[in-house]
């Protein structure tokens, strides 16, 4: 892939991107309280007195949230800090009941790691490593609603205290596409690990997008941070928009201000949050309600043992059994797909063929029908059965497609479909010979033409026989028997 450059008045510019991804940790209860985390509950029903910061309430950390963050760190090949600590980030806002967010600044749970992205799906050599600086664990804030009352905002604390992992990348990305690939890959890994459901619409993953520009080879420029961008597409749009804005600004003789910005998807533009800026002094200090978090080697070993096969390893394994690199990367991108494909292999499907069929046939059909692997009635076991019936000649390619369509419609197993509808391919020479005889007898004129040299009529006879046998005749046998009778 060629390098991404933006042409300005004064020449070409390079874009430097770092992402801070907030990923909601999958857990039943909140990070520091026993209130539920489920999405979509009635306002303020999933709020404990701790989450509402009632006087005298104290935080006690949830082990599962720590475990999930450690597993995530391990999946990103990151350093797990045996000694970490929670700090308070102090600021006032109506969605922040304590007046501080419990987070980790000075000693995060997870240190440096990395994510490998493919710059080109079809080229397995187009890899790039994106550095992870750290992952820390922190509380989410509540939610403010502004449009329910003319002069009041409403506060819902259901999200208040839900555990987040903040995954901070190094400024290693150089184009919107790289940032997109990184986000998709990160999301994929989190979903494999099971530490975050990756549901961006529900806000389970949000990115703070740090963007700066420079002339290639120069020092880093001043960056802006666009907060809370909630889709891959928007992240890419923010980068593009923000880079162009900064370039224009600099080329007009201005200076980029290090500031927080907000993205408006409707206008596809970012704007400064300067109003909040002047009071930004978070006064971080260690939370005196919590002791340092010390992890044992056993705990970390358990986390490690619980990790599933990750996308890169899976991709390599698929390639090792003959799956094309492109198919392997498609099949491993989403954990659900990979699990489905693994089940298909386990049910006995031949890997290369199976992969081709899933990527071309199954995905094509699901797309057409606006379905997904989760909603389709076809199980990997049934798909394997179908593939086997085609492979062993029980079904012709045409019949296979027919059975597949019926499977999609009814969700029935292929064996049942074949049985009920009598779709089995036949190689019975007696039956085929009988049909051939009938066709030849009924078309004596064409037989004569054929024999006098119009050999292209052979296809006509094949078609007639197949039609008469409702497509169930083995085409090879039909060919062979026809030649025997005509030539």
């Amino acid at each position: 892939m060629s390098e991404y450059r933006i042409k300005g008045e004064t020449g070409e510019w390079e874009v430097v991107i770092g992402l801070e991804v907030h990923a909601q940790v999958v857990s039943n209860a909140k990070l520091f309280s026993g209130a539920a985390t489920a999405f979509g509950a009635e306002p303020n029903t999933q709020v404990s007195l701790v989450d509402a910061a009632m006087p005298g309430m104290l935080p006690v950390p949830n082990k599962e949230c720590i475990r999930q963050a450690v597993r995530t760190g391990l999946a990103l090949d990151a350093v797990i800090n045996r000694w970490s600590r929670f700090d308070r980030k102090n600021y006032f806002y109506a969605d922040l009941p304590q007046g501080y967010q419990i987070s980790q600044l000075y000693h995060p749970l997870v240190g440096p790691g990395e994510v490998e992205i493919l710059l080109d799906d079809k080229d397995e050599n187009s890899v790039k490593q994106i550095g992870i600086e750290r992952i820390h664990v922190e509380q989410d804030a509540g939610k403010l609603m502004h449009d329910q009352h003319p002069t009041m905002s409403y506060v819902d604390l259901n999200r208040s205290g839900v555990a987040l992992m903040e995954i901070v990348s190094r400024p290693d990305m150089r184009s919107p596409a790289e940032a997109g690939a990184y986000l998709r890959k990160l999301r994929s890994i989190l979903r494999y690990v099971g530490s975050c459901d990756g549901n961006m619409e529900e806000g389970s993953m949000r990115a703070d997008v740090n963007v700066s520009v420079r002339k290639p080879g120069d020092e880093f420029g001043t960056r802006t941070e666009t907060k809370n961008v909630n889709s891959v597409r928007f992240v890419m749009a923010v980068i593009e928009h923000e880079a162009r804005r900064q370039i224009e600004l600099i080329e007009e003789g201005g200076k980029v201000a290090q500031e927080t910005r907000l993205y408006d998807p409707d206008k596809n533009a970012t704007r400064s949050l300067r109003s909040k800026e002047d009071a930004h002094d978070y006064r971080y200090f260690p939370d005196p309600d919590l002791l340092p978090l010390e992890l044992t080697e056993d705990f970390i070993a358990d986390c490690k043992a619980s990790l599933p096969e990750l996308p890169d390893d899976k991709r390599k394994r698929y390639e090792g059994v003959g799956v094309t690199p492109y198919n392997a990367s498609v099949l491993t991108a989403e954990v659900e797909t990979a699990r489905w494909f693994d089940a298909l292999l386990e049910a006995g499907a031949e890997p290369k063929q199976g992969a081709n069929w899933v990527v071309a046939e199954l995905f094509g059909a699901l797309n057409r029908r606006s379905e997904t692997l989760a909603t389709t009635g076809i199980s990997p076991q049934e798909a394997a059965e179908l593939l086997k019936l085609v492979a062993d000649g029980t079904l012709s390619g045409t019949l296979g497609k027919q059975v597949f369509e019926i499977m999609l419609e009814t969700g029935d197993a292929p064996s049942k479909i074949v049985e009920e509808r009598g779709l089995k391919q036949t190689s019975d020479t007696g039956a085929i010979d009988a049909e051939i005889d009938k066709i030849l007898a009924a078309n004596a004129d064409k037989v004569a033409e054929y024999k006098s040299g119009k050999v292209q009529l052979f296809g006509f006879f094949v078609g007639q026989v197949m039609k008469a046998m409702a497509g169930k005749a083995n085409p090879g046998v039909v060919n062979e028997r026809l030649r025997a009778k005509l030539d």
Binding site: P55, G56, N90, F92, P97, S153, F285, P288, D289
Partner: protein, 493 residues
């Protein structure tokens, strides 16, 4: 005044157990004393009905042979403790009308042990003060008067000033206090009673309004060392709701009481002879050493070189933590709200907090905010936490040479109301002997030693090793037995 209100908790417990009097009689006597003592301003809320209900339960329990450790013992609870359904305002306007739907772990344990609640006790606002004058309810008046013929109103000390006054005036058999930098021990000393702050983590902080989380510890205040031991046993214990709670069994401190100190060494810190401390206090300190020697302990000189930095260290760390802990008082979810017409959220915050917090609390929030702010954090907060490490190390080294430490509790006897309010630093200096043990999380206790020339009580202060409340209680008991302190304030209220 009923004779019942002069009894110790041990005597009440034993008397109710033996049927000498009923719990109801005790509760009624205390309820009456509370009403009669209103001019002391010790209580912010009176809950006679709760005291009576607990007494009735105690009398039934006695009939059924199921008495609990504190059945029929009427207690006052410092207003810093959240008490279910009863105003819990921490002496602040900003929590005006706040009725928790929950009960603090410590007060809940006392109630579960059979104790009745007489009411909530006045205190310095958010426990910030050493004279109880920062309370939104006005100062507590000490039941003690100078014998100089004047009638000056004196402070009972603070921040647990209502607690101290209540015990000393017979308005409660025992009380809860909290101690962040001396708030149990200094008022106990000023009012001639006992008070112990246990090792940090012994008492759950859950449901106690936070002042400075790394320092706050609850503890009992009562007439005698034994009473403190009894209450402490009921108050302490592991609480999974407090991440700093110690997961240790509760020792049987009352049963372990012994004033035989043979084989023990009492450390006398050489740095604690401070200029400006009245000679009477130094003299009492010397007497204390002699009493302990008499009980079998050997005095040894020790050095705590960094403790002279304890106060400035404390006055960085405590306000820093407080500035963050008190951020939740913002007018959104409970308490006071001041919303200027047409003002935005920030205007509401600023107006609410300006109206709701008193001068001393505002001052400490400001200092705390400053020392944590960008550019100053390392110079102040980190520096203070480093010095705190050195102070803790001082104690560790000292305890290699002694079993407990004896010092005066406070550098003066009770002072007059208004005497120090205009000078924050002079007020802060009151806790010079108390603060080092708070910074190190160590158990420490004040026990009355005698009266000064003006007839005001003076306390002696014992600091123990981590988790060695027993050692502290035993040394205090040895002093109590020898000091023969029986003085009580003359009733004038």
């Amino acid at each position: 005044m009923s004779e019942l209100t002069t009894k110790t908790i041990a005597e009440l417990r034993d008397g109710i157990g033996a049927g000498d009097f009923s719990a109801r009689e005790v509760a009624e006597a205390y309820n009456a004393a509370v009403v009669a003592g209103r001019s002391l301003n010790a209580y912010t809320v009176e809950t006679p009905e709760l005291a009576l209900a607990a007494a009735e339960a105690a009398d039934k329990a006695r009939a059924a042979g199921e008495l609990k450790p504190l059945s029929g013992v009427p207690l006052g609870i410092k207003d810093l403790f959240a008490t279910e359904g009863v105003d819990s305002t921490s002496g602040s306007n900003i929590l005006k009308g706040f009725k928790p739907t929950y009960e603090s772990t410590v007060s809940g344990k006392l109630k579960a042990a059979g104790a009745g609640m007489l009411g909530k006790l006045n205190m310095d606002e958010f426990a910030m003060g050493s004279s109880n004058e920062t309370s939104a309810y006005g100062p507590v008046i000490s039941p003690w008067k100078r014998n100089d013929g004047g009638n000056a109103a004196l402070t009972p000390g603070g921040s647990s000033g209502g607690s101290a006054a209540a015990v000393s005036a017979g308005l409660a058999a025992g009380v809860t206090g909290t101690d962040t930098g001396g708030s149990i021990r200094q008022p106990a000393a000023f009012t001639g009673i006992c008070g112990i702050k246990p090792t940090y983590g012994r008492c759950s902080r859950w449901g106690i309004v936070a002042f400075a989380s790394s320092l706050d510890q609850a503890g009992p205040m009562a007439k005698t060392v034994r009473d403190c031991a009894i209450l402490l046993e009921a108050m302490t214990g592991f609480d999974p709701k407090d991440a700093t709670s110690l997961d240790l069994p509760v020792p049987n401190w009352e049963a372990g009481l012994s004033s035989d100190l043979k084989g023990k060494k009492v450390g006398i810190p050489i740095e604690y002879r401070i200029d400006g401390v009245p000679s009477e206090i130094d003299a009492l300190w010397d007497k204390g050493v002699e009493w302990l020697r008499d009980a079998g302990a050997e005095p040894v000189k020790i050095s705590l070189p960094y403790t002279k930095y304890a106060l400035p260290t404390y006055y960085i760390i405590a306000p820093a933590e407080a500035s963050s802990n008190l951020a939740r008082y913002d007018g959104v979810r409970y308490g006071l709200r001041e919303a200027p017409e047409g003002g935005n959220l920030d205007a509401m915050y600023a107006a609410t907090r300006a109206a709701g917090f008193g001068a001393e609390v505002r001052r400490r929030i400001m200092i705390g905010t400053y020392v944590l702010s960008a550019g100053f954090y390392d110079a102040y907060f980190t520096k203070a936490q480093k010095v705190r490490t050195l102070i803790k190390r001082d104690f560790r080294d000292a305890f290699a040479e002694c079993d407990f430490i004896l010092t005066p509790t406070a550098p003066s006897a009770a002072f007059g109301l208004q005497e120090k309010m205009s000078d924050p630093l002079a007020m802060y200096l009151n806790d010079v002997f108390a603060v080092p043990a708070s910074l190190a999380g160590l158990p420490a206790m004040s026990v009355p030693g005698g009266l000064d020339g003006q007839g005001l009580p003076l306390g002696l202060h014992l600091i123990g090793k981590e988790l060695d409340e027993q050692g502290v209680l035993n040394a205090a008991l040895a002093i109590e037995e020898r000091a023969g302190f029986t003085a009580r304030p003359q009733r004038w209220w």
